[in-house]
């Protein structure tokens, strides 16, 4: 039906709204970013001047940059493996013949529904100097651990919170992947004398490799971008002593507190590059693993 030109016209008219929005609010900003990171931009006066690579040079000499670098990597290295393993384990438990699994699932999913801001406030109250967790540890061990004002522990609270609220989401992703694992594989394994744990290790884990790749990638991308929790918890400062200063939070501070949009964009570019590289490496590693296994 219809000529080739008619098809083209139809195709583009269906896509038009999406294309306009993508061009104006994604492509133009990306192009703009490539240009901004070589300039000194002041949004208030509207002035800009070409500074070459000086934005990057300044960043590499900036102790706050290295603090945010360290915090973000620490965060990713702890959170991504833990949340992936817990999500996979919970999903395979729920997938085995468990009564009330729908009820368990419905309850477990609650943290994923909760906004990062409400969740952060709830966790701040739990780990506050007068909070439930602090008081409980105080009663059990006789020492008061002040999580939120201790630079060594503040980031840990954000890690726990993130694991708590992303595990259910990835658990559901794993569950839908588990539906595709054929029962015959488990039967064969149990005939070979493999117990439940060995079945998990030698059947479930390798079968779920493509899903794991998705979960790890999404986890990496999400964790590298961590912002809301760090912002609310530290009131936007990244404190105590820069211990919750993440890349995204520092980008925000550079742009809107220091009014240095050029340097903020340079940092965003570095973050983008890091995410691409790490995802690429992980992709290669997981694929290599799959071939060997």
């Amino acid at each position: 039906m219809g000529g080739k030109r008619y098809q083209n016209l139809q195709g583009y008219s269906f896509l038009m709204p999406a294309l306009i929005i993508i061009v104006v609010f994604t492509i133009v900003p990306i192009a703009y970013a490539f240009f901004m990171m070589f300039f000194k931009v002041d949004i208030l006066s509207g002035s800009r001047s070409f500074v070459g690579l000086s934005n990057f040079e300044k960043l590499f000499q900036d102790p706050k940059f290295w603090a945010s670098f360290e915090n973000t990597f620490k965060y990713v290295l702890v959170v991504v493996p833990i949340q992936t393993i817990i999500a996979m384990a919970l999903a395979s438990i729920l997938n085995s013949r468990i009564k009330f699994n729908r009820t368990f699932l419905t309850i477990m999913f609650i943290p994923t529904l909760t906004s990062s801001s409400a969740m952060t406030l709830i966790f701040m109250w739990l780990f506050n100097n007068n909070g439930l967790v602090v008081n409980m540890i105080g009663n059990l061990f006789g020492t008061k651990i002040l999580f939120l004002s201790n630079p060594d522990l503040a980031l840990t609270v954000i890690m726990i919170m993130n694991i708590f609220s992303t595990v259910p989401h990835f658990m559901i992703v794993y569950l839908s992947g588990l539906q595709d694992v054929p029962d015959s594989l488990y039967e064969a394994a149990s005939i070979d004398g493999a117990n439940r744990f060995k079945q998990f290790l030698y059947v479930t884990v390798p079968q779920l490799m493509p899903i794991s790749f998705y979960v790890v990638t999404m986890g990496l991308v999400g964790c590298f971008q961590i912002f809301d929790q760090a912002f609310i918890l530290s009131n936007g400062t990244g404190g105590p002593q820069n211990s919750t200063l993440t890349f995204s939070l520092y980008i925000y501070q550079l742009a809107f507190t220091s009014n240095d949009m050029g340097r903020a964009t340079a940092l965003a570019f570095i973050l983008g590059l890091i995410i691409f590289t790490v995802t690429f490496i992980v992709n290669k590693l997981l694929k290599a693993d799959k071939v060997n296994g």
């Binding site: 269906f14 709204p17 949004i43 909760t114 906004s115 990062s116 409400a118 406030l121 007068n130 991308v221």
Partner: protein, 275 residues
């Protein structure tokens, strides 16, 4: 062997119940806190409130909280409706209409989805301010009304959608747009519902965009308002107020979760394209 199995089963149930308790505990503690008096909270206090008080909720509703709820509902509804119409149209075109440049557009979108939002965050702020949308709710609606991830999901859906239904409609003399709105959309209800609940929840819970684009307190989105409330009441240890606010802000999503439960949990949305 059988005995062993039974033991394993008990362990598994204990573990699951334990995890559920762990999940619910922070919320339960917040609910209890929201009904305590500030004096009791400051004094450490007991697990259950000694005197049940509604002071926290009263303070919340005397602030601009209701206005913030209205703002969030307005923005979330518009964003959801735009998303579901435009993502679905785009996904349909990419799956079903054979036009020039289709493959190229599809690959370009795949590439764009991989660029982290931080890269575009600051230039996006400048674009939005150039258009004159700063401090307007439309800044959030316009910048969020398309989601490439859900365009993929819909494309995947339409690739598996039976062609003969459409062909029958075309025979009956409907145009492509007519077929799309009268025949295709009603048949894609489940996919659209899944898309809608997650988009609505995404906008409702969004924190960074309101923080960047909205500055006057009466235009705050709920998440931003919560942050403001916590700043105001934290130092006076009025956690009853803060917890009341946090809990009220979750309620609409909870209602959605109860009503549309199967769309939240029976999802294999974004993985559909990956598998």
């Amino acid at each position: 062997m059988r005995k062993n199995n039974r033991f394993l089963k008990i362990v598994v149930y204990i573990f699951l119940v334990g995890y559920c308790l762990l999940t619910v505990a922070p919320f339960l503690w917040s609910i209890l806190t929201s009904f305590k008096t500030t004096a009791e909270i400051a004094g450490g206090g007991t697990f259950f409130p000694e005197t049940w008080s509604l002071k926290g909720y009263e303070t919340i509703f005397k602030s601009q909280f209701l206005q913030w709820i209205r703002n969030s509902i307005f923005v979330a509804l518009f964003t959801t409706v735009f998303n579901l119409i435009f993502n679905t149209m785009a996904g349909y075109a990419l799956a079903r209409i054979d036009f020039k440049g289709r493959q190229l557009l599809f690959s370009a979108m795949l590439l764009l989805i991989m660029i982290p939002s931080q890269v575009t965050m600051i230039p996006l702020y400048i674009v939005v301010s150039k258009i004159g949308l700063i401090d307007s709710h439309w800044s959030i609606i316009f910048t969020t009304m398309i989601n490439i991830g859900y365009i993929f999901m819909m494309r995947q859906f339409f690739i598996n959608f039976p062609r003969d239904v459409e062909e029958a409609a075309t025979m009956d003399g409907l145009t492509r747009f007519g077929t799309f709105f009268r025949v295709v959309l009603p048949n894609a209800k489940a996919a659209i519902a899944t898309q809608s609940v997650f988009i609505f929840m995404g906008v409702w819970n969004e924190f960074m965009k309101p923080l960047l684009f909205i500055s006057s307190p009466d235009k705050y989105m709920l998440t931003q308002g919560l942050n403001a409330i916590s700043k105001t009441y934290k130092n006076a240890t009025q956690w009853d107020v803060i917890m009341a606010g946090a809990l009220v802000s979750i309620i609409p999503i909870f209602i959605l979760y109860i009503v549309m439960n199967k769309y939240f949990i029976a999802k294999n949305d974004q993985t559909a394209g990956i598998k």
